[in-house]
Amino acid sequence: MCDSCGCGDSNVVPFEVHERLLAGNDRTAAHNREHFHDHGVIAVNLMGSPGSGKTAVLEATAHALGREARLGVLAGDLATDNDAARIRAAGIVAESITTGSACHLDADMVHRGLHHLPWRTLEYLFIENVGNLVCPAVYDLGQDANVVALSVTEGEDKPLKYPTMFRKADLVLVTKIDLLPQLDVSLDTIERNLKAVMPHPSMLLISSKTGSGIGEWIRWLRGCGTRRLGACAAAAGAGAAL
């Protein structure tokens, strides 16, 4: 007998679920996270718009940290191997996850991608998500930290237009700051907008081209390595909190 909706239909029964729609993805993400923790791998989910400089950040990271730490990358890409090829050319292992028309990575894609990387030997695994400021924020991949690349060429109001993405970020890398002299963009306004949406606002100003800020980014990563387990935001708080 249905008592919940008043329809009076004796053959209709309520069934309470109260479960996340992505419970299946969450289970796989927890499985990935357990793998990473068991093997001492710090996993960083790098998100951002197409063209925000995600791959360039990883190239700069490879040059700055690749000799002293074992790094690897899973690069989400709709149709090509271009990003992974660029990262391999920078000297670290990288594999593509070709998503076809899918606009985001999910935990299962990452799990399958791991089979093509020597991930157990890594200290840092970067998961370069598909360029998109909407969908990737919804899917847990098993990462320790969410990092969002926001280039100065994207303007000042992206945090306000895409609050879900920036609310999930442990750190925002404001990229391409070498272009600031050519742009009518205020870093103060970007900072104010990030503060408006991020629970624990944290950003670093970097240029992958000139190397500016890359040292701070590496220190932030090292903070993740030493504090681990959800402490990346706290690590950032030591030097980059807004």
Partner: protein
Amino acid sequence: MHEYSLVQAMFDRIGEAVRANRALAVRRVHVRIGRYAGVEPELFRAAYDVFRVKTFCADAPLDIEDASGDELLLERLELEVP
């Protein structure tokens, strides 16, 4: 357009509920979507309408309840049982 993959995941869960209860059909689906869930409710509804054709949800209206956080929940179903 991840709303389609979310609806696919929801149909997987609904299918489990249908089998577990030996239900004949689903009469109503109730979800809760927060404003920071990263989901556009009308796109979610459009995806649901595409998916439900000729399924156990064919005649099941979709109720979408608003929420203030990042909730993305399948709250309850109404199932037609023998």
